[in-house]
């Protein structure tokens, strides 16, 4: 029994060396496999959530993400919706968009964005729309987050 344990111990230690070599040699492959096998994604609180609609305005697009209320278990009362306008090179100096994220045909908020100077503003039409959280220029265009609150 003692010898068996001894052999197992040394084999285990030797396997650690193999683990190091395989891990570094196959790091890229293993990372891809880990990501696909677990199906893990970045939290929508950071990524903005999945895109639900893209509205083509000819030269530019308005991209709507799904409203994010995701909590650890179930949904939270407070959330947000992310809206993007791109590409940055084709945006008009002033964007005035009526956004319907519920898909009921009614405007939920209107967005006014000065793509030259920067400031943006929203006018809520739906009581669950609270305020503009932020609007930021990124490589591809402009991104805005609008705070939402579920009605009780």
């Amino acid at each position: 029994m003692k010898n068996l344990l001894k052999i197992a111990g040394y084999a285990w230690a030797g396997a650690c060396l193999v683990v190091v070599l395989v891990m570094f040699a196959g790091s890229e492959y293993l990372s891809g496999k880990l990501a696909s096998a677990t199906g893990i994604t970045v939290s929508p609180r950071y990524s903005g959530g999945e895109v639900i609609r893209s509205i083509d305005h000819g030269t530019y697009k308005t991209i709507l993400h799904r409203p994010v209320f995701d909590g650890l278990i179930g949904e939270r009362r407070d959330g947000f919706i992310q809206v993007e306008w791109q590409p940055v090179t084709a945006l008009p100096p002033l964007i005035e968009d009526a956004v319907d994220f519920t898909g009921d045909g009614k405007e939920d908020f209107s967005f006014r964005l000065d793509t030259v100077a920067g400031p943006g503003a929203i006018t809520p039409r739906n009581p669950s729309v609270v305020a503009l959280e932020w609007v930021v220029k990124v490589n591809q265009g402009w991104v805005a987050r609008v705070q939402l609150r579920k009605k009780p």
Binding site: K2, L5, K6, A8, G9, Y10, W12, A13, G14, A15, C16, L17, V19, V20, L21, V22, M23, F24, A25, S27, E28, L30, S31, G32, L34, A35, T38, G39, I40, T41, V42, S43, P44, R45, Y46, S47, G48, D70, G71, L72, I73, W134, V136, K137, V138, N139, V143
Partner: protein
């Protein structure tokens, strides 16, 4: 141990002859050549020079470890160089890419923030329940992606356990460096109750991260933000966070290690380190103290930079769960009672073989993991010398 017994205890001869040391270092030379070069030696003279320096650096250190029988002395050189050059490489990379060390809102929105292992404890509960990672990084691809860091963490946990904190963590070398600057500690005694603090921090950050779905340690408590990246100061809250980062860095990574000669950030604060302690339970290597050889001189206890050896643990013949396998206790032990051990094997037998097996695993991990950052850091320094600018 009584003096009669003490005289019977012979010092273990861990020093090897130069010829035998070269022979034993040969596998490391071959493996590091293959792994560091990726099978292709750089053709550009500057890159070749930097590659050569890095390769020699690691292999000379490994040779010295074998030849002198000392572990920690040479491990620390590589480990500290890794941390310092990582900081040089990371900061210059940030200045090159963004023009500053601050993390812009844009990078967060685009989920391009480099992921580090310190975030891992906070991501586990949300990942299990929501299948998402609460960090604005890239899952795969790009610099320091989330999946690649998880792969390295899983590999390190299997191969080294908490040895990661002394052989792999690119931050650990900073407080290790400061803990070595003074010959004697100004504050020699640390109340052992402080060793529970990392567990409290771990519990707090895991629970708050799950509650707020945000990596709270990164937002509020990480001292290493001070030497990597932090949010652009655009509000009072971010200003407070930045002050906390800098204060914790100065306190836990610079001043306290300097005064106590202990790795205070790693052993008294780091929540990742606390969690990593648990992986020592599933690891092949540990530190054992042979009671038959122990003189009870307590040199190991006094020297341990992570407070992982106590009188009780000496009596029990092993280091505590928090042991980072740095090898300090093994180096200072006058009789070879404290030694690297492989689970399942008898204590006190084949000490050199067990140490060598551990060193192959741990040093290879360090050499491969650190090589690219060391080369990048060296390249920046060479650029500074030749052009006057690191960028």
């Amino acid at each position: 141990m009584n003096p009669e017994r003490a005289t019977k205890v012979k010092k273990v001869q861990s020093r090897q002859s130069p010829g035998k040391s070269i022979l034993l270092a040969l596998p490391m030379m071959v493996l590091t050549l293959i792994m560091l070069s990726g099978g292709r030696i750089p053709s550009d003279p500057q890159k070749l020079f930097i590659f050569g320096v890095t390769y020699l650096f690691f292999n000379v250190l490994f040779f010295l470890m074998i030849h002198t029988g000392k572990t920690d002395r040479y491990r620390a050189v590589a480990f500290i160089a890794f941390s310092l050059l990582f900081v040089v490489s990371f900061i210059t990379h940030m200045f090159e890419a963004r023009g500053s060390m601050s993390l812009s809102h844009e990078k967060i929105i685009l989920c391009e923030v480099p992921f580090c292992h310190l975030v891992i404890p906070m991501t586990l509960i949300p990942a299990a329940l929501t299948k998402t990672i609460i960090f604005p990084g890239m899952i795969t691809g790009g610099y320091a992606s989330i999946a690649s860091m998880f792969v390295i963490w899983i590999g390190a946990s299997l191969a080294l356990g908490r040895g990661w904190c002394s052989w792999g963590c690119f931050f650990g070398g900073l407080d290790d460096a400061f803990s070595r600057l003074l010959k004697k500690p100004v504050l020699p005694r640390i109340d052992r109750r402080w060793t529970y603090l990392p567990w409290a921090v771990l519990l707090a950050v895991v629970l708050t991260a799950a509650a707020f779905l945000s990596p709270t340690y990164c937002s509020w408590l990480c001292p290493y933000k001070a030497v990597t990246e932090f949010n652009e100061v655009t509000s009072f809250t971010i200003l407070v966070q930045t002050i906390i980062f800098v204060s914790l860095f100065i306190g836990l990574v610079v001043v306290l290690p300097l005064l106590t000669k202990r790795r205070t950030q790693c052993s008294l604060f780091c929540p990742f380190g606390a969690m990593q302690s648990l992986t020592n339970k599933i690891n092949a290597f540990d530190i054992r103290i042979d009671r038959d050889k122990c003189l009870n001189c307590k040199r190991c206890m006094k020297a341990c930079p992570t407070l992982s050896i106590t009188e009780e643990s000496i009596r029990a013949g092993r280091s505590l769960l928090s042991c980072m396998k740095c090898g300090t206790c093994v180096d200072v032990c006058p009789t070879g009672a404290a030694a690297f051990h492989i689970r399942g094997t008898p204590v006190g037998e084949g000490l050199n073989g067990k140490r060598l097996l551990f060193l192959y695993v741990a040093f290879l991990f360090l050499a491969i993991f650190a090589a690219s950052e060391i080369q990048e850091g060296l390249a920046r320094i060479v650029r500074l010398i030749t052009t006057g600018s690191m960028i």
